[in-house]
Symmetry: C3
Subunit: 341 residues, 3 copies
């Protein structure tokens, strides 16, 4: 994939200082830049790399322009401009058809400009909007709806009745709408509660590889507009994830958790279920969300990594923490008594 500096400048609405015909074949990182690629600088603290850059084009702020001896594009927000520029370098499969091996139910509707890959299976009454790209090996259950411009990568599964908004990107192996984990215990045996809700996903949502989002037990599981979910995340039944919240890999959100808008949730974080989390909450990786979070802010839990032998000693002492606290209190009291004498 090759693009000219002029094309990039136009796409990011920046001002090009240099040759518009110069050809770039991708990006390289500023600290390890290569010729014939573009790069970008997001902070003045990286100016030492800028002065040494091997890149053929740099996206930068006005204030860095004087420190750059190669061709560059001046923008307000270089990181955003870089994100926009990556759109020009995407590999696109040319196929814009329904592959002959795809099994599409007669009652399904496939929008104009949409493609369906080999060996995909599209159920009864499915509605796929215009300009969607459904890759190979995808299985859509009956009555699934996919909004226009959405991309479903290979081997995605969507269960019966679930709805995906517009411009979704769903990565391979993701499973949307499997049963929530619900059973009634009857005389020592688990009786299945069939999960009658759906998963409803808003517009502009991205869902990572092998992520699972369960259908609701009675009502629906809801993922709002603009939510970004990384790989291997689990979202339990009847969760509601607020708009523009980002959830990093391997997090697990137990059922009926309500998460606000614009939250940033780091990897391997666990939500204990039936909790509410306010808008604008940031969670450090591996946090244990044991209770509702009512105020925006940055939260964390956990203990530090240590050499094993040192850790082992502290680890054991954790069992005595309550006792230690009471001994301190007792010491304080005795000392006061002693002073009083």
């Amino acid at each position: 994939m090759k693009r000219t500096a002029g094309e990039i400048a136009q796409h990011v609405a920046g001002r090009l200082v240099g040759d518009p015909e110069k050809v770039l074949n991708g990006f390289s990182p500023l600290a390890d830049s290569r010729s014939d690629t573009a790069t970008f600088i997001t902070s003045t603290k990286f100016r030492k790399h800028l002065s040494l850059t091997q890149a053929s084009l740099v996206i930068l702020k006005e204030s860095d322009s004087a420190f750059c001896s190669v061709d560059h594009i001046i923008v307000n927000d270089p990181y955003y401009a870089y994100a926009k520029a990556t759109e020009l370098f995407i590999h696109e499969t040319v196929n814009k058809q329904i592959h002959s091996t795809a099994v599409v139910d007669d009652s399904a509707t496939v929008g104009e400009g949409s493609s369906i890959g080999a060996h995909s299976v599209i159920g009864a009454n499915v509605v796929i909007g215009n300009d969607c790209s459904i890759a190979s090996g995808v299985v859509l259950g009956d009555e699934v709806q996919i909004g226009k411009g959405s991309i479903l990568n290979a081997n995605v599964t969507i269960y019966y009745g679930c709805q995906i908004g517009e411009r979704a990107i769903i990565h391979s192996g993701a499973v949307i709408g499997a049963d929530g984990f619900g059973f009634a215990n009857h005389q020592g045996e688990w009786v299945k509660i069939h999960q009658l809700g759906r998963v409803i996903i808003g517009n502009d949502v991205e869902i990572g590889a092998n992520t699972t989002i369960d259908r609701g037990a009675i009502d629906d599981t809801i993922i709002d507009h603009g939510v970004k979910i990384d790989n291997q995340v689990q979202i339990g039944h009847n969760c509601h994830i607020g708009a523009d919240t980002a959830i990093a890999s391997s997090a697990a959100v137990a059922g009926s958790t309500i998460i606000g808008k614009n939250c940033a949730i780091a990897g391997l974080t666990g939500f204990f279920g039936h909790l509410e989390v306010a808008d604008n909450v940031t969670l450090t990786a591996m946090s244990a969300v044991t209770q509702s979070i009512k105020e925006p802010g940055h939260y964390a839990s956990g203990t530090p990594l240590q050499p094993y032998r040192k850790w082992q000693k502290n680890f054991t002492r954790f069992k005595q923490l309550d006792e230690m606290s009471r001994r301190i209190k007792s010491l304080e009291k005795e000392l006061i008594d002693l002073k009083g004498e």
Copy 2:
């Protein structure tokens, strides 16, 4: 899906107070109930919702009957009756055939009333019992056995030789029988130990989406009757999970762990391997099971969620825990000495 109050009352063996011809189109939650749906009340503490209910039918205990002004069904255990009633509202795909695109080895046996979805692949000598529903994109390795009445959702993979009991429900993306993680280190290189055991799964087991259960190294990995496993759980080689134990999402059970019956294991719990866990053990989410658990009961580990700045201070102090303990002891001794003077 529509059902009458009379059909529901009969199915849950309850006593209907009201119109048997009334039509219900599903369930709604008691606290947010809608007309033309059924709901249920499990505890007298929710009676305030009962008095305000918009639902057209309520499943309840005898003792709540007088507080309910709409049609209702009286049962002994409303939660169990609700679970049973959900069976009436399941969406079922009508297809009861082997799809023309399915690739079924000539040596495989498919029971009466069983269906196989599009693009599924059934290996040599596979035996599928009666009334099974194998969805699309499922791959069954050679010599796999599936008990009668089992449901395998789309894109499930089962490796060579594994056996699934009767009435199993396996969700999409689950992988049963991949190799356990076993290597011998020979002169700094890992030499693969081929995993010669199988996975043997009892009756009435449910396995969640993208869950993985590894085949045994020498002997088999065993999942007993009635076990319920949520999404994204990992079960290592040669584990034995006891009957009716429930494991919530994203838990990881290292190899050769023996877990007893009727355990309730919450999400993201980790088992460190080669441990034994007694029957009737409950584990809080994100527990680290670092050693065997010999007594039934409720166990937990981990630290509380805190605002980041406060957490950071306590986090750092964890490294001094052993030292703190020794300083307390020393203070106690000095104080005794001082008093003795």
Copy 3:
């Protein structure tokens, strides 16, 4: 699968004491051995099991030979010999063809002796080396390269442009090359950073079921030779995993983490991103790698499992850890003052 004692002895280059025509139908564990199987003893501490063994053949060291009353094979390293011997008992599907339902792009190259299973989809310009085994339901994106002798199990997905080395084993549901989790926040909305790098995997790598390895944002994600990755592991974009490192199940490695050679990383471990880990580092299960690790050695984090009520008390005290430390210091000071009086 049946093998003679003579075949096994020859394969492991050991010295057989006993009948070379004796037939073995697999392995059994030393402590629970069965007739007509082979077993092995790795340490003199298991000699009590050796004297009682029901196995028909034992792989052992010279020093254990005198304590063994049944046929045996003498080797230097019984565990390694056992690993080698398992190669003789693998179930192999006979098919060595491209299945008629596989969709292979005309521009793809498939090496001699390689098989492709039913309903697999091979993209444009894909290159598959000789003697590869691609199972059913596998999807390879355009320009993927697979080295000779590699095994891809059912329902594996590999995205555009990724490269897999020789003799790889990739388990079902694994997704290689999905987009890394990268967005630029522009006026409160997440703008996708298209991920232009690839995943490059060395020789002799094994990747577990449902594991995900993301493509690089700009440069490539690199998995070196001999790396062994268990199930449900997540490797973020631009990570570099050093040669012969082993990563157990459900670990999550955030983006741009550099892990050295010969590391042993236990399950559910989390790496917080943009960290470096030295060679020869061992990490206990569920470790939180919050900072770079510069020295080889064994590290851990976390708190012990306890009965719930005891845990709850200590759990709460964790919030007071910093305060407790300061109170100890204050007590020490007061005591010194008191003594000085």
